[in-house]
């Protein structure tokens, strides 16, 4: 059975443009047929995907997503791995970038370490937000993907650079501590904040002074966020039993945030210090 036939089990928009006539059993059966059809059927299915506005692929997208979802869960590792491998393989085909973006988002649901190479090849691609979808899929896979972010960061420019940096922070990549420290001193506010946030997620005592100094220099939005990161670092250090360093953060902030409009920061410090006792 061809993919084109299989996806007829999925609904087309009914009255009001919504998918209200959906048949659960038929859709579940179709998912089974897609999986039984293996790589060939999956590639056929991917071939039915089109760029938004270039045709009707509602059923194809629905079917592919349903399959990506249903290979997840307990006791399905073998099935999930086979499906994710075949799906990642379609990224190498000649397809519109917007279609590859959709495939990347389905890989975010079901991919594992084995698909990281294929996904990471889009980390610096600024077209159709592929860098974003790639990063988010890798982040979903987990810390095993940090190598890809580290390799991409020096090559990434503009929006992909911030996304890749944030990905390293999201994954708490301790090997990127120097990158985070360097980022926290850059001209671009969002890069600075991403660097600070990443350091907070690593939660090293070595970065206490850097966070305090950087937060003190920031103004406006940057000061609001950077001060928040200082408080989060204090909490993380306190949770790790590093009370002295946590206290240093609180005491410094309490002394330096003297204006009326930062009274809530002093309150947070008082509360934090009380918990340390």
């Amino acid at each position: 059975m061809s993919a084109k036939d299989i996806i007829q089990a999925f609904p087309t928009p009914a009255s009001g443009g919504i998918l209200s006539t959906i048949d659960k059993e038929a859709c579940e059966k179709a998912v089974g047929q897609i999986l039984d059809g293996g790589e060939k059927t999956l590639r056929e299915l991917a071939d039915l995907l089109v760029e938004p506005g270039k045709g009707n692929d509602i059923q194809a997208r629905h079917a592919l997503h349903a399959t990506a979802i249903r290979v997840g869960g307990p006791n399905k590792a073998k099935q999930r791995k086979a499906f994710a491998k075949a799906l990642a393989g379609t990224l190498a085909d000649d397809r519109p970038k917007a279609v590859k973006g959709f495939i990347l988002r389905q890989l975010q649901i079901c991919a594992g370490d084995e698909q990281a190479d294929a996904i990471a090849s889009f980390l610096t691609d600024g077209d159709e937000h592929l860098y974003e979808y790639s990063a988010q899929a890798l982040e979903a896979i987990g810390p095993s993907t940090t190598d890809h972010f580290r390799k991409a960061y020096p090559k990434a420019k503009g929006a992909p650079r911030l996304t890749v940096l944030q990905g390293l922070g999201f994954l708490r990549d301790e090997k990127s501590v120097k990158v985070f420290r360097s980022a926290s001193k850059e001209k671009d506010l969002e890069i600075r904040l991403a660097g600070l946030w990443s350091l907070v997620r690593i939660a090293s005592t070595e970065d206490v002074q850097l966070l305090l100094d950087t937060a003190a220099k920031e103004e406006g939005w940057g000061r609001i966020k950077a001060t928040g990161y200082c408080l989060q670092l204090a909490e993380a250090l306190a949770s790790a039993g590093k009370k002295k360093e946590a206290a240093k953060l609180y005491q410094n902030l309490k002394k330096s945030r003297t204006s009326n409009n930062e009274s809530h920061v002093r309150l947070a410090c008082d509360r934090g210090l009380a918990k340390l006792k």
């Binding site: 209200s20 979802i69 389905q106």
Partner: protein, 418 residues
């Protein structure tokens, strides 16, 4: 008895928790050396998200307070300007970027009525800027956001109130109070109660329309800022302006639109403000990747056996897993009934205005709002994933289901992050 009391009253909870890891005591500003804000003082107010529910949410926030609108913000500049002019022409400033609004020192209280994918990030930023917040429901788009909001408001001692108020009526209703005490007592083991919400969740009304071609972005709209923490997608008008509810990227269909209204009061009544379900069982067809759609029913079972059930009545079979029944004193032994009767009633819930003036927690505080939002998110995730889910309410993770856990804290688009 002490244990019962600690579970029963807000005052006891606050007192007990003040020494614990979840301490939350809002210290008056004057204690910290800042000028005291007397209850009669005029507060600077702002609205972020000026379309749809925005004006009503702002008015709700102002109840019991003397608030002057100083700022209005919307990614669509027309909406921000319209609201600013309608409430305080010439004095209230319109913004397109909420970051600029939150930088202002003269704003004390903020109403947030953006689509839900922005609720958590803006609430967090507002608390970090020292503002008190009334935030529209649903509180969040995904579960990790809720925990981050709770932690942030705890950290800064700011007031958070969710924009649904049914629990206030329940907290004054004798029958609801009695049920609350039974459940809060912890004496009811193997609870057989099943509370059903049948219909009223606007499943078809807030189902999305798939396959709409991309459209030209209006000049007044900052589309990238609208997408914000959610994955970027090509613009089409139905992703905004109320019909955003039909897209997973921004809300979660009628479940998320109406669910917090329905289940927040139930959650208070059945004393579930500090926990979540442990088993979630759905009956639903495969979901579309972009738009919300049909489902039949979802059952959420708590650790004590208590169950919430939602039945759509708009698609599929009826719920048939267990008889619907409520809790009553008869579920307890005579001895335990006496213990429950001896318990004090829970303290009255504070409105947002009262909480701001008294520097205490509001009745619909962040933790309660988060747990109520979890009901919706867990139900929607079971619908989307199409399988029974086991959930750890303390760790806030699914058990033995790594793929499901990917939906609890999906990566956010830079520069937005928790």
């Amino acid at each position: 008895m002490k244990k019962i009391l600690a579970k029963t009253t807000r005052r006891d909870f606050l007192a007990a928790s003040a020494t614990g890891a979840t301490a939350f005591t809002i210290v008056p500003r004057n204690v910290l050396g800042a000028p005291e804000v007397p209850p009669s003082e005029k507060l600077g107010g702002a609205l972020i998200g000026c379309g749809g529910r925005g004006p009503g949410t702002y008015s709700g926030m102002c109840k019991g307070l003397d608030v002057e609108l100083l700022a209005a913000c919307d990614v669509d500049t027309r909406k921000a300007q319209r609201f600013a002019d309608s409430r305080n022409k010439g004095k209230a400033k319109a913004y397109q970027d909420f970051r600029r609004l939150l930088e202002r020192d003269d704003i004390d209280v903020v109403a947030i009525a953006t689509p839900p994918h922005w609720h958590a990030s803006i609430s967090i930023a507002a608390a970090e800027a020292g503002k008190d917040v009334l935030c529209e429901k649903p509180m969040t788009r995904f579960i990790a956001e809720g925990r981050a909001v709770v932690n942030t408001f705890e950290r800064y001692g700011r007031v958070f109130q969710i924009g649904t108020f049914g629990r206030f009526g329940r907290s004054r209703d004798r029958g609801s109070i009695d049920k609350h005490k039974i459940m809060a007592s912890g004496l009811l083991k193997n609870c057989e109660a099943v509370r059903m919400k049948r219909g009223g969740l606007k499943i078809r009304q807030w189902s999305g329309r798939p396959g709409i071609p991309p459209q030209t972005i209006p000049n007044e709209l900052d589309w990238d800022l609208y997408c914000g923490p959610s994955p970027w997608k090509p613009y089409e008008g139905r992703r905004t302006g109320g019909t955003h509810r039909g897209y997973w990227d921004y809300e979660g269909g009628g479940m998320c639109d109406m669910g917090q209204h329905h289940f927040d009061p139930e959650q208070w009544t059945y004393a579930k403000d500090y926990t979540s379900a442990v088993e979630i069982t759905p009956f639903a067809p495969p979901s579309h990747p972009e738009v919300t759609g049909m489902w039949a029913w979802v059952e959420l079972k708590y650790a004590d056996g208590f169950r919430f059930v939602m039945e759509s009545t708009e698609w599929g079979p009826k719920y048939d897993q267990a008889p619907i029944r409520d809790v009553s004193m008869n579920d307890l032994s005579p001895e335990d009934q006496e213990k429950v009767k001896a318990m004090p009633d829970p303290e009255p819930l504070l409105s947002f205005g009262e909480a701001v003036k008294q520097r205490k927690k509001a009745g619909g505080h962040a933790e309660a709002a988060h747990r109520a939002a979890c009901i919706l998110h867990l139900a929607n995730l079971a619908i989307r994933l199409g399988r029974k889910l086991n959930y750890d309410p303390d760790k806030e993770l699914f058990v033995n289901d790594e793929e499901a856990n990917r939906f609890l804290h999906p990566p956010m688009s830079a520069p937005w992050r928790l």
